[in-house]
Amino acid sequence: MLGKHTDMIARPRPRSRKWFRGEGWTALFFLLPGLIGIVLFLVLPILASIALSFTNWQLLGTPRFVGISNYTRLFTTDPQFWTVMRNTIFFTVEYLVLNIVISLGLATWISSLKIGQRWFRVIFFLPTFTPLIAVAMVWMLIFTSGGLFDSLMAALSLPFSGVLNDRTLAMQAVVLTSIWAGVGYNTVLFNAALDMVPATYLEAARIDGATAWDRFWKIRLPLISPTLFFGTVMTAITSLQVFDQIFVMTKGGPGSSTATLGYAIYQRGFQNFQMGYASAIAWVMFALIMALTALQFWFQRKWVHYDA
């Protein structure tokens, strides 16, 4: 018994020593360029930004330690912060719901097609290849006063014009652009998951008299729920960081109606030279993303089914 025990402990030891003598070092050597890159351009800047968020660094001159005053200022006196926070959450919720619903709908529709599945997948995935900056520029021109969108609305006698200059509609224009650019990724993802659902399950259900709706709701959806969960979490994270569309289309305006956390970081850091303050906002954004992601992981237990 004892002998067996020590044997179990002893066995991995020579293997691990050998590992670090031989291939281990070789592996480390080959990983080194990437590792140096990660430490230099990812780990260090992250650590630096934590430190900076407690200073008043203005890019020029030496930073001075100011304790938590950046954070207290953010939460108590900054007149823009709560607007920015509300805009960010508003955008995330609306974009997330629309993106998931639309991409799931498209994915289901594509997988039901008899012919041309591949073509539709490519068509909807194409915007994902396009740089977001370029997409946003084209949509900005469409939405600009007197642009294509305005003439379209006039032709349909709808009362929407100059949306980018409208406090409530500007954000909707940003959401629409983001949907156009981002929905293809989830569509392809969900479509692949739907295709993995065993046809035998669906066939059996059909024989038992389940309607198409039942089959979708009770068989396909639970079976693709892990993919759906992955898509939701990733989409939530990227939409909390929204920046490019805002930067190109509205610059946070009109007023502060489209200013989000991502844009606020850029504005404070690189336009107003308040690097310390911008770092503090970045860490608030990090905390928000962490919290919402944790929440999603918590909720997944209720609706995500892993096929054991």
Binding site: L60, G61, P254, N272
Partner: protein, 404 residues
């Protein structure tokens, strides 16, 4: 053997700056950070070569970057200790950056540079707390660019130099017809315009005071041109600061406000005759703000004396003539402004008279370290009053509250 040789070479190289500092006449290479388009490079290189012609021991190495990149790179290069010896500076950005520059007053005093040779307003624009931080190459007030053909077709007289806001508005009204607007507004109009009407955006402590009655009133006059009288299209919060120049060039607006630094581009883009007029005044006398750019010496430069020699050439009469006749700049040197009037502005009526009138009526362009932030907020918030969504007072107090 080889390794020790390299080591010796490295040792020798690392001790070079010390030797250089001792011997004044040793050749130096100065770095010069400048903004510009790739097709400007040749012009700036010409100026750099001018330095070497005069001082064979001084070589100037030009580092060109785009306008927006320049202002992002400058603080980053400074923070990492890599700022160039000669730093280009715009008067409106001076409050953010004077700390990285060397005060030039002592250098100027011990040289042949005469402060009186330059336009006064730009010398104060490149100073901070009474110290001069850069020598200017160009200067210019904001003024009204107008379409002379449209004025003639509408039977309007050319604007007088001391025209009032009411004259301006009446002309804009006459010119607004057949789908074209009399005026194309953009962000900076809401700063230069109210000042010309006699309003102040600062209090006596050099802090923003946007909600004073005078400024609100003057600001509203400009906002109403779009919001109430519909004499101008609305600009978007993401529009760049020169949004109206494109509409002007395509003939969709008859007047817009810009500076002489864009005249050469404006002329190249239009198929009609351009006129320029001062900004309209209020009930009081005219007053105009000017801006301009120049070159300073970085506070950490190892070759300050050589850099000042180079600076004298770069901001000297010969360089001013080159820039003026190429149309790149209305020279800050008064004597060389002729090069610009006779060259770049040859086909624009009344340029010399108008600008001389404007220089005679300049008011200091008051700026503090929050200026950049203020300009961005103007772009972001002004569209709300142009669409009639918010009242000018509300917008101004929103901007004010975000400039603590």
């Amino acid at each position: 053997m080889k390794r020790s040789l390299i080591f010796a070479a490295a040792l020798a190289a690392s001790s070079l700056p010390g030797i250089g500092a001792k011997a004044q006449d040793a050749p130096v290479t100065l770095t010069w950070q400048m903004w510009g388009e790739p097709n400007d490079a040749q012009l700036w290189q010409q100026l750099a070569d001018l330095v070497t012609q005069q001082y064979p021991n001084i070589k100037v190495q030009l580092q060109l970057s785009g306008w927006t990149d320049y202002w992002t790179r400058l603080p980053v290069l400074t923070a990492s200790g890599q700022v160039a010896d000669i730093v280009s500076m715009q008067s409106m950005r001076m409050p953010n950056f004077y700390s990285i520059l060397t005060p030039l007053d002592d250098y100027v005093k011990n040289s042949d540079v005469k402060v009186a040779d330059f336009e006064t307003s730009i010398m104060s624009g490149l100073s901070h707390d009474g110290k001069l931080y850069a020598l200017p190459y160009d200067v210019g007030p904001w003024m009204v660019f107008y379409n002379r053909d449209k004025f003639a077709a509408a039977g309007l007289k050319e604007p007088a130099k001391d025209w009032t806001f009411d004259d301006f508005k009446a002309d804009a009204k006459t010119l607004t017809k057949d789908g074209t607007y009399g005026y194309g507004t953009q962000g900076f109009d809401f700063i230069a315009g109210p000042v010309a009407l006699g309003a102040e955006y600062f209090n006596s402590d050099n802090e923003f005071d946007l909600t004073n009655a005078g400024f609100v009133d003057a600001f509203s006059k400009y906002a109403d041109l779009t919001a109430k009288d519909k004499l101008s299209p609305v600009f978007a919060s993401a529009a760049d600061a020169s949004a109206a120049s494109g509409r002007f060039a395509s003939g969709n607006v008859a007047m817009y406000i810009d500076g002489p630094w864009t005249l050469i581009t404006a002329q190249a883009n239009v198929k009609f005759k351009i006129g320029i007029a001062p900004l309209p005044r209020g009930s009081g006398p005219s007053r105009f703000i000017t801006a301009g750019s120049g070159w300073g010496i970085s506070a950490t430069s190892q070759h300050k004396d050589a850099a000042f020699k180079a600076l004298q050439v770069l901001s000297g009469p010969k360089a001013a003539e080159i820039l003026g006749s190429a149309g790149r700049a209305l020279p800050a040197r008064l004597a060389q402004q002729t090069a610009w009037y006779d060259g770049a502005a040859k086909n624009v009526s009344g340029t010399r008279d108008t600008l001389q009138y404007m220089f005679a009526h300049t008011t200091p362009f008051r700026i503090n370290e929050k200026w950049n932030q203020f300009e961005n907020l103007v772009m972001q918030y002004v569209p709300l009053t142009l669409t009639g969504d918010s009242k000018p007072e509300g917008v101004l107090s929103d901007i004010q509250s975000q400039l603590p």
